[in-house]
Symmetry: D2
């Protein structure tokens, strides 16, 4: 769902509950400094600061970290239904380099969901609003839940 | 160039010299535990062990680490010409999950180079030879060198 | 440029002049029934009706025709600068089938242009506004012009 | 399956039977001049001659036709199981232009099949063996068959 679709308070609370449970187990994202700043049904905003030890041999941020932020935001947006959803793969385009000291923000929005498969777009910008990367991911729903005690919301 | 094209000893030594200089500056790759095990003109093999702190909220290796390994192998294969080459973007497909304790190997081979742009494919397998991910990246040559004292080799 | 950026009348006329010259030579697009309905700087809208002879072995519109419409809209949006721009490749996602009798509309917008390379997104919808496909293409500027008598507009 | 895996005569005959039934209904492919020259389990080779009326505004073969050949070969390779398989989307990279008079050949090989989803790669070459395009498609199996009277072969 797009940010402007104005989900109900209940839908927002549900999405947040699932996302927080998922974040708690996502050691990789935590260790990379990725934070969840906003979440709703099919929607997530996450941030990551770039440090010196995230630079590659060209002295710019390693593409793997930029991808990791995008992929994490994708995962959080896709799993807010509480139906475990994984990535089949994706396409990422790098528009501008990220540098040490930058704070990147990823906005992920599910674009389409049909049966088990879906599409979720992520845009990454830096602290100046400049676009750093565009990511388009293919999601796939498997037969399990993120939070066992909660229902699925299709 | 494909692995079986049998580059000369001189070409191999040149590629290794560029790659080692690049690896030394690639703090991000080093910190992720990525190692360079083989390199030749347009060709690189790199490995990465998966640890507990690389797992995501589904308790499998975060896609960002798998991507990082692929993207690093891509970068090393593309830069063996000593012409600084960056990624415009790529496509990655996840075929099987990676788990804590796995040792992943990425084999990167430049498929095409025309003017400034090129294509480089990466296949990631685990210690059992099972394919974990397929990566296809678009490269772009910029106007600088990796090792200033060495020539470019087109 | 996005549709809402309101280009000047002069910029619109320039884009249209380049696009019309290009359309006149695009025998393939004409033969497929693709029409140019709107064009501006970095922006193009094109349509294509689906006929019985465009169906594949599953009795839905062959993906090749859907792609052709997207790729054509991409080309027209990218070339409005009058700098010959080709496709390096792209990613397309099919969201819903198209059927005989449908009228598809492709909206193409350049998202980014940096040096010779750029990104242009295309969304294809049917006559009911349902999204049929999402396309993201990588463009590359070569050293020639579409209309020799006109300048380049970067 | 890869070409060199040497399927049994029975498996080849089964794949051919399914492919021929599918080709008979694929009006779009037939009309584009695409021919099936070889087929086996998870494998298909198809050809397409390039004519003047397939050229675009740059006087080279419209990318839509090159894509159509790749997409068709993908479809035939993916459906040899007799389980109806559609495309979720794909990535295509254009390596060299095709021109009027060229004869293009597409070799499609399923790389991976896990549950409903799979990956199939297609390489397109011209009559001189030069690579024209690389295509990587995501397939999805739906609940129907190509030939009702034949079983499914997983």
């Amino acid at each position: 769902m797009k940010e402007d679709a104005q989900p109900t308070q209940d839908a927002l609370a549900f999405a947040r509950q699932v996302a927080e449970a998922m974040y708690e187990k996502d050691i990789a994202a935590q260790k990379m400094g990725i934070k969840l700043t906003k979440v709703g049904p099919g929607y997530a905003v996450m941030t990551m600061p770039i440090h010196e030890d995230m630079l590659n041999g060209h002295s710019i941020c390693h593409g793997g970290y930029i991808f990791s932020l995008a992929d994490t935001a994708f995962a959080f947006a896709c799993n807010t239904s509480n139906i475990t959803t994984v990535s089949l793969g994706c396409n990422i385009t790098f528009l501008a380099p990220a540098r040490a000291g930058d704070l990147l923000t990823a906005v992920a929005e599910v674009q389409s969901q049909a049966g088990r498969t879906g599409i979720c777009d992520v845009t990454i910008t830096n602290q100046d609003g400049e676009r750093v990367a565009l990511y388009r991911g293919n999601s796939y729903r498997v037969n399990s839940k993120i939070v066992d005690d909660l229902p699925e919301r299709r």
